[in-house]
Amino acid sequence: MKCVMTDSRTKLHERKRGPALFAVLAMCCSLASAAEIGQVKVVRGQVDLERNGQTLPAKVGMRLETADVLRTGADGSVGITMADNSLLSAGSNSILSLDRFDYDPTTNQGRFDTQLQKGSLSVISGRMAKQSPDAMTVRTPSAILGVRGTEFVVSAQ
């Protein structure tokens, strides 16, 4: 009943799920590819990682890929580091999706877009945001944050 609007918006933001076969192929092949964009460093309580339509419990040490979605439960929180030294952590009842992470480590240029669909998030931006002011954005269902190389917290209900 509460937050009808937000819920429907959230659904719009969810990624389309590919056929199961594609998901399996993508998972097996990603092991050999350089698709890793970050790593799970902290897990408390219930935290799930959604990848290619599959949900698995998030574990400390797990590598992250573009389009991964992290969900924390009522007692959950999660902390991750990204390849450009960005640090993100989400509190309870949060949905955080890593929509885009294109990073050229030689030039420090690229693009990092995340979305906090709900919950709370702490951000310490990394080398990309330091290099160029438009490289990093955090979206919520109602706002877009442009990150100019900084530390901040954001919530979305």
């Binding site: 609007m5 919520t140 100019r148 900084t150």
Partner: protein, 197 residues
């Protein structure tokens, strides 16, 4: 009449519900190193730029509303997210002999501190960033900086750090530690920076 009133109230209540749903807040935090920062908050109906520590904005359907938050407010609202922050990357710098991929003597002991930091972390991963000074072209310096980083990476692997946890990159002369004109040799710029995270 009563029915119309009831309908009007229902619509108003729904509008409030919808407005209330698109909420959230953003708070700029103090920088560890005191450098200047900002977050630009954009909504369909407006834009606010946060610049000072604890400058904050509430999201609303009439655009972001600026306000001043505080350390205590942030602790209450964001305590769980802040407590889950990964440890910050720790940075070590090693210096190299001019034009070579060989470590300067002073830097050999720093390697011990790097191992100690790696050992402290539950799931360490290491970023090794090679740099050159401003002598020479990118064509020369990009591979030289990467070679310096690769040598440090190989050293770390040799002493037992898993290879999949170490990434080496070269930045050439793009990020001089001591700003100089192009073509100037400077020992402090011939370096490899190791981030343990």
């Amino acid at each position: 009449m009563t029915r119309n009133l009831a309908r009007a109230l229902a619509i108003a209540a729904f509008a409030m519900l919808v407005a209330g749903c698109q909420t959230g807040t953003v708070v700029l935090l103090p920088q560890k190193d005191g450098t200047e920062t900002a977050v630009v908050v954009k909504q369909r109906d407006g834009e606010v730029t946060l610049r000072a520590p604890y400058a904050a904005a509430k999201f609303s359907n009439t655009g972001p509303q600026a306000y001043k938050s505080s350390e205590d407010d942030v602790a209450v609202q964001f305590g769980a997210a802040l407590a889950a922050r990964p440890e910050r990357p720790v940075e070590f710098t090693l210096y190299f002999i001019e034009g070579k991929d060989e470590l300067a003597d002073e830097s050999k002991q720093i390697v011990t501190a790097v191992y100690a930091e790696i050992a402290k972390r539950p799931v360490p991963d290491v970023l090794v960033v090679g740099h050159t000074d401003a002598v020479g072209s990118d064509q020369v310096n990009d591979p030289l900086s990467l070679r310096r980083a690769e040598i440090v990476r190989a050293g770390l692997i040799q002493s037992g750090i898993a290879s999949e946890n170490i990434v080496a990159i070269g930045r050439g002369k793009r990020e001089l530690f001591v700003p100089t004109d192009d073509g100037v040799a400077h020992a402090r710029n011939r370096r490899v920076v190791i981030f343990v995270r």
